[in-house]
């Protein structure tokens, strides 16, 4: 499996390049953080909110856009499609786990996604140069580690909902419900720090924050040292829970799988 992985990455990259126009469109459809950025910029214009001025707002939402795209997964659609059409059967015959293939496919599209995002990033920097900051080494390092965990949780969550296609026709609908809650609870549409108190308290106990807001706030240098460790620890816990659930739904699902010829 480890010998095959570089080849898988190459295939994934070639695939991403082949469908580059489509990738551009998918990247551009997930630009909601930019809209939020304009709105919150306007709110911060009247005066800083809890230490967040226009610079911090722009920094937060720019990082949200970047982290969202570089930790994103789409395995839920791939799984759904392949389970329904029987495309999964040949994958199961390969001498490697199908999910390894999806991991490689997912990771290898990241460089191209970064290239597509570059003009947007330059545009925002040009619009609000005051967002630039000098990150402390420890927040940067911890932020990057946290981004890896964020990706792992997001990927595992999609494997869970994707594997539900083994059991139900409605699995994509369920995923959409999850996505709706995620976009409200993860800091994607508004900074959790600025949410009303009761909502913030509630979100501390939910997994959404660990998939986006934690790495973003760390990278932006908006978290104190003593809070940072707690947030990353929560990510580790959620990663274990989600990967465990994903393995469980996948294993239960594959056993039920009755595609053509299986």
């Amino acid at each position: 499996m480890f010998r095959a992985f570089p080849t898988l990455l190459r295939i994934g990259f070639a695939e991403a390049v082949a469908y580059r126009a489509e990738l551009v469109i998918w990247v551009l459809t997930a630009t909601a953080p930019l809209i939020s950025m304009f709105i919150w910029d306007r709110v911060a214009e009247e005066g800083p909110l809890g230490g967040w001025g226009q610079g911090e707002m722009a920094r937060y939402f720019l990082l949200t856009l970047i982290v969202r795209h570089l930790t994103s997964a789409w395995v839920v659609w791939e799984l759904n499609e392949n389970i329904r059409t029987g495309g999964l059967s040949p994958m199961l015959l390969r001498p490697m786990h199908p999910l390894v293939f999806f991991v490689a496919q997912n990771l290898s599209a990241m460089p191209l996604r970064a290239v597509i995002l570059a003009p947007l990033i330059v545009g925002v920097l040009w619009w609000r140069p005051e967002l630039v900051w000098t990150p402390e080494p420890w927040t940067l390092l911890l932020g990057l580690v946290s981004a890896v965990f964020a990706w792992a949780i997001a990927f595992a969550a999609q494997v869970i909902f994707g594997s539900l296609a083994f059991f139900s026709q409605q699995s994509l609908g369920l995923f959409n419900v999850y996505f709706g809650l995620w976009s409200l609870g993860s800091g994607y549409l508004f900074p959790l720090e600025l949410a009303p108190d009761w909502l913030r308290q509630l979100l501390l106990w939910l997994p959404f924050r660990a998939t986006l807001a934690t790495p973003v706030e760390l990278l932006a240098g908006l978290v104190a040292w003593e809070d940072a460790l707690g947030l990353v620890a929560a990510q580790v816990v959620w990663a274990v829970v989600f990967v465990g659930l994903a393995a469980m739904t996948w294993n239960l699902g594959v056993r039920r799988h009755e595609a053509v010829g299986a």
Partner: protein, 259 residues
């Protein structure tokens, strides 16, 4: 065959298709309510921090969200499914059958795949607007002008889609483009006056979602100048004309699947 009869027939066909899946109705109602909730939460978070923003209070901005939900409902029920089917027709060659029918092709494709169930979203959106209208004390004149402007905005939306779909005759695969435009239209959940400069220009004139959601809300507040309102309606009619021209011109370029 008169126009009314054909429209009624197309609508009946759509309704019959929908009624085969009666259980979906309750699912759709639940989704519509959840979606309205999802759309309004960011608004409440923003207005929790700033009681008024660029002259908008929470209730007034809520009217914008209401019109936004209605617009999304119309988009999903009427505009998007119908016009996206055109792309499919062109790709598979079945568009020839559309052209053979003794009815105006634009009218036919605008109605033939309607999903009446999605209109539930419009009902929920209308509820949000009604709540906002009560909060801002809108009179009958305001309500009437807001409704007129809403229809002008929806005409605009439909025209925009028609232009995009017309390009399917040249580029074939444009259904992803409709997702891109929808992402842009998402900006319409906020009053357009919250945006600045270039973004505001785009949202007013290029992707005119500002006209669809903000102008009716302004009319509801009684703060839209009659000249502006009239201007918006003229623009809507102009856009519809442009869409008609784009459609007929592209149709002329269509070289059928079999020839």
């Amino acid at each position: 065959m008169s126009l009314g009869v054909s429209i009624a027939a197309l609508m009946r066909a759509s309704l019959l298709t929908t009624m085969r899946y009666r259980a979906s109705f309750f699912g759709e109602v639940a989704m519509a309510v959840a979606w309205a909730f999802w759309t309004t939460v960011p608004l409440f978070v923003v207005f929790d921090q700033a009681p008024t923003l660029a002259g908008w209070t929470t209730e007034e901005a809520l009217a914008v969200v209401g019109f936004f939900i209605i617009a999304q409902g119309v988009l999903e029920a009427l505009v998007d499914p119908n016009l996206r089917a055109v792309v499919e027709h062109v790709r598979q060659g079945t568009f020839d059958f559309v052209l053979l029918k003794p009815i105006d092709a634009q009218l036919y494709v605008s109605l033939h795949r309607t999903e009446p169930l999605k209109l539930v979203h419009c009902v929920v959106g209308a509820g949000v607007v009604a709540y906002a209208a009560k909060a801002v004390d809108a009179g009958p004149v305001e309500l009437l002008s807001a409704t007129l402007l809403m229809f002008a905005g929806l005409t605009l939306l439909h025209s925009l889609w028609t232009v995009v779909v017309s390009s399917a005759f040249f580029f074939v695969k444009v259904d992803n483009l409709s997702w891109l435009i929808r992402a842009g239209l998402d900006a319409g959940r906020w009053p357009v006056s919250l945006y600045r400069g270039f973004v505001r220009f785009v949202l007013t004139f290029v992707l005119p979602i500002g006209l669809v959601t903000t102008y009716p809300a302004l009319a509801l507040r009684g703060e839209l100048k009659p000249s502006t309102g009239l201007g918006a309606m003229v623009i809507a009619v102009l856009f519809a004309g442009v869409a008609r021209i784009a459609w007929t011109q592209s149709l002329r370029r269509y070289s059928s699947a079999s020839s």
